[in-house]
């Protein structure tokens, strides 16, 4: 792996030049000294992708808002009396919100998203949910990540199964310290990138020797079972990953955490290393008590981070990159007594980008004809939303990945066009 000794400090400015340099270095690292067949799993996959994504290959950045994001607080129906009746002091007042259409508005802290709405680059999908048997965070999160309603813990997620079946030569990336279920397939898994770590590849001769030794752990069976072999594979994989991605790390450390992650996501897209999806999480939106203050902060972070993403994104990638924002469930229509809301049902999902079909999709559920628990009835399954992304944006067959063809809303144009 001669490139590991490369001490040339390439300029790491934003933009596509970086992508070219990094990709070249990446492929050198990936193919030097080993045949593809002996490389750690994801790296072999990535190395096989000797060309970057094509001009009409869509890329999706999946932002999961954990804890159950209250869609009625993000997109409040301020024009409806039932909303104010149910929410009381927690309800947002029309004058304080950002006007949309049809008596709907955006939360005041989502001002940058509101600008994208006005530019036709924000799709709001109403009534999204799943047929969960309970309102547990974990059952709902399992459904969301698996992509279709299931019983028991999911072994795989919809983006992971997309990798299994359709992403030949491409890869997925998860930001954070552990790999979420959504990005695990039966055979292939996304690469995780640390959010904070300073990825410095080895430079001195000793470190190169040492890292070469570390890389050997994954090259042979240890007889240590599935977990042991996976651990062994990561020992070498991380070094090549460090060398591949270090240039994509934002130099600006002053941004808040989510903004840093979104900027990193944009730079990974710009570098065009073959990634078709990037996942990250933001939480917690579990507003059982004093939800107003919590959401002021969370929405500010989210709005700023999405804005930073698009400011960092290479304009050449803009027509085929979309940000999809989902949460495991919405929240009860009526506020509870703690100035908060309990776990609910139907919710909004958001898609942001140059090639989304801006506006409302689906149907806003009734605020009064609710489930017996007092939750919004959902009309669109998670799987319908994901099916459209798979078919329209990722060039896959939704029925294969999800076990069911989608019948949901159309909120994306063709990528790249």
């Amino acid at each position: 792996m001669s490139t590991l000794t490369d001490t040339t400090d390439h300029a790491c400015a934003e933009g596509s030049a970086l992508g070219h340099l990094t990709r070249r270095r990446f492929l050198q690292a990936a193919t030097a000294g080993a045949t593809v067949a002996t490389l750690p799993g994801w790296l072999a996959d990535a190395a096989a992708a000797s060309t970057p994504t094509g001009p009409s290959d869509g890329i999706v950045v999946l932002v999961t808002l954990t804890g159950g994001m209250d869609g009625l607080h993000a997109v409040p129906p301020v024009g409806r009396g039932a909303y104010h009746d149910a929410r009381g002091d927690l309800a947002l007042q029309p004058a304080d919100t950002l006007h949309l259409d049809g008596g709907r508005a955006l939360h005041p802290r989502l001002a940058k998203l509101h600008q994208r709405w006005q530019a036709g680059q924000l799709a709001i999908i109403d009534g999204v949910g799943a047929q969960s048997t309970d309102m547990s965070h974990f059952s709902a999160m399992d459904d969301l990540q698996h992509g279709t309603p299931i019983t028991g813990k999911p072994a795989s997620g919809w983006l992971g199964r997309y990798l299994d079946a359709f992403a030949e030569g491409y890869q997925g990336i998860s930001l954070g310290s552990s790999l979420p279920v959504v990005a695990r397939g039966a055979h292939r898994r996304a690469v995780t990138l640390p959010v904070d770590a300073s990825l410095v590849p080895p430079r001195s001769h000793d470190r190169v020797e040492l890292h070469r030794a570390l890389d050997r752990f994954g090259r042979q069976s240890h007889g240590l079972g599935v977990l042991g072999q996976r651990l062994a594979g990561e020992a070498g994989g991380m070094m090549t990953e460090a060398d591949t991605f270090r240039g994509t790390y934002p130099g600006d450390r002053s941004q808040p955490d989510l903004a840093l992650q979104m900027m990193l996501a944009a730079k990974v897209v710009n570098a065009n290393l073959g990634a078709r999806f990037i996942t990250l999480e933001h939480g917690t939106y579990d507003g059982h008590a004093r939800q107003g203050l919590l959401y002021d902060n969370k929405f500010s972070e989210l709005d700023h981070a999405v804005d930073r993403f698009f400011l960092t994104l290479d304009p050449a990638m803009a027509a085929r990159t979309t940000v999809l924002i989902v949460s495991e469930f919405g929240r009860r229509v009526a506020a509870n007594g703690s100035m908060g809301t309990d776990h609910g049902g139907g919710n909004v999902a958001l898609a942001v980008g140059q090639n989304v079909i801006g506006g409302f999709h689906g149907e806003m559920p009734s605020l009064t004809n609710t489930t017996w628990e007092g939750n919004l009835r959902h009309t669109i399954e998670f799987s319908d939303v994901f099916a459209h992304v798979l078919d329209q944006w990722l060039g896959a067959d939704a029925a294969t990945v999800l076990g069911t063809p989608g019948s949901g809303p159309t909120f994306l144009r063709a990528p790249g066009s």
Partner: protein, 428 residues
């Protein structure tokens, strides 16, 4: 007669890995005696020993937080009762509360309960934890009153703490949340039931109608008709924590029976787990990845270097496990979640720091004075890896041969990095 590997396995799981002295002490015993020995906490330091006093209104959050982490990880490293700290880690995940919203003082107070009651009767433990200010605050029950009950605590009590999803109805949750209305925190930072907030009407919970108050519902859940479900739920979770994921139903049933026969004493359930043949199977030995906290404590124990020398708190957040700050109410995940390039990289950064300390602290002695195989054997033994695979042994051996050509100063550094990065050490 047990092998050294048997005892290493027991001490890995019942604690954070054994020192040579700890292993030697158990070697002559029968398996049953060794299990009893690791479960015997009577001779260990008192639970209150050394616990830092944290002010409720701290003026130095970072400093006080560092003192808490230092105390706990040092306790894990040096305790005479590792099982108590291992269970403290388990309960911290099971009853997850977080410094995200909870004060340091309340987190420290709650941990004291895990340590003092974590091996005793499960129903008593749940009752004690349920009314800690940490829990009442974290799940929002402190603001729940009869006019509009907050369901959060009731839901987690059934789903996460006692029965598991699918074993109760939404109506049970609503009724249970009514029973817990009024349980809040006073100005003196103690929990109490605020009478005018409490719902004094009959509620029907898991089939029994009564004017329920909160704490007695825990006895109802754990000692009433749902007892077998609760026993299986915890037995499965503890088996997965100590042995491997997805155990056979029959195994879980046996453990649940033993748990009930032990009057819901946790140490009785642990004894049943460790005594199973399956606990010593290859599946079990390969069934657990060290979580970051387990990993850094094992490194401290095997190198003999303390918290202030190694400062694992600098690395734990990037490794994905920040003490007192679990990621969600579900606590920390197991195994697969700790295998990612991100965690591997963060762990490698920690190992790099440790490896540089090994020579000044004389952890491996004078390695270059040994034969090549002697140096490898000594390093593997130092890190508790006498059963390392031939592949791992070869990697260390080739490195020593190479490094001795001209850079012997790097030998201890490299051996440490490789041994601590090996899949054998990363497994628990």
């Amino acid at each position: 007669m047990n092998s050294r590997a048997d005892i290493e396995h027991l001490l890995n799981r019942a604690g954070f890995g054994g020192t040579d002295a700890e292993i030697d002490a158990l070697l002559p015993m029968t398996w049953g005696q060794a299990v009893n020995a690791v479960l015997d906490v009577d001779g260990a330091e008192p639970v209150w020993h050394g616990v830092p006093t944290i002010p409720q209104d701290t003026t130095n959050w970072a400093g006080d937080y560092a003192r808490m982490v230092r105390f706990w990880l040092e306790r894990c490293r040096t305790t005479g009762a590792p099982i108590r700290e291992k269970m403290t880690l388990f309960w911290h995940g099971h009853f997850a509360c977080s410094t995200d919203t909870v004060t340091l003082r309340w987190m420290m107070d709650q941990q004291r309960i895990f340590r003092a009651q974590g091996l005793g009767r499960f129903d008593n433990l749940v009752k004690a934890v349920a009314t800690t200010p940490a829990m009442l605050h974290y799940l929002g029950n402190r603001y729940s009153h009869k006019w509009s009950p907050n369901e959060n605590f009731a839901r987690e009590l059934l789903e996460l703490f006692t029965l598991g999803a699918g074993n109760y109805t939404e109506t049970d949750i609503r009724e249970l949340s009514r029973a817990w209305t009024g349980w809040t925190i006073g100005d003196d930072n103690r929990s109490y039931r605020r009478a005018e907030w409490h719902d004094n009407e009959p509620k029907t919970i898991l089939g029994a109608t009564r004017n329920w108050d909160g704490p007695p519902t825990i006895g109802h859940i754990l000692r009433g008709p749902t007892q077998p479900i609760a026993a299986r739920f915890l037995a499965r979770k503890l088996w997965e924590f100590f042995a491997y994921e997805n155990p056979a139903d029959t195994l879980v049933d046996d453990l649940a029976d033993a748990f009930i026969a032990a009057d819901l004493r946790i140490n009785g359930l642990l004894r049943a787990i460790f005594m199973r043949n399956e606990f010593r199977s290859q599946t079990a030995r390969q069934g657990r990845v060290r979580s970051p906290i387990e990993y850094v404590v094992a490194v401290m124990k095997r190198t003999g270097m303390d918290f202030d020398t190694t400062r694992p708190d600098w690395s734990l957040p990037d490794m994905g496990q920040t003490p007192f700050t679990p990621p969600s109410v579900e606590g920390w995940p197991l195994n697969d979640a700790w295998i990612s390039t991100s965690t591997t990289w963060a762990r490698a950064e920690f190992v790099e720091r440790i490896a540089r300390l090994v020579k000044p602290h004389n952890v491996l002695g004078d390695s270059p004075s040994r034969s090549v195989d002697g140096a490898v054997d000594h390093a593997l033994a130092t890190f508790g890896l006498t059963a390392a695979s031939a592949h791992t042994r070869n990697i260390l051996r080739d490195f020593v041969v190479d490094v001795r050509a001209n850079r012997t100063w790097a030998e201890e550094w490299g051996l440490t990095t490789l041994a601590l990065s090996s899949p054998e050490f990363c497994l628990a």
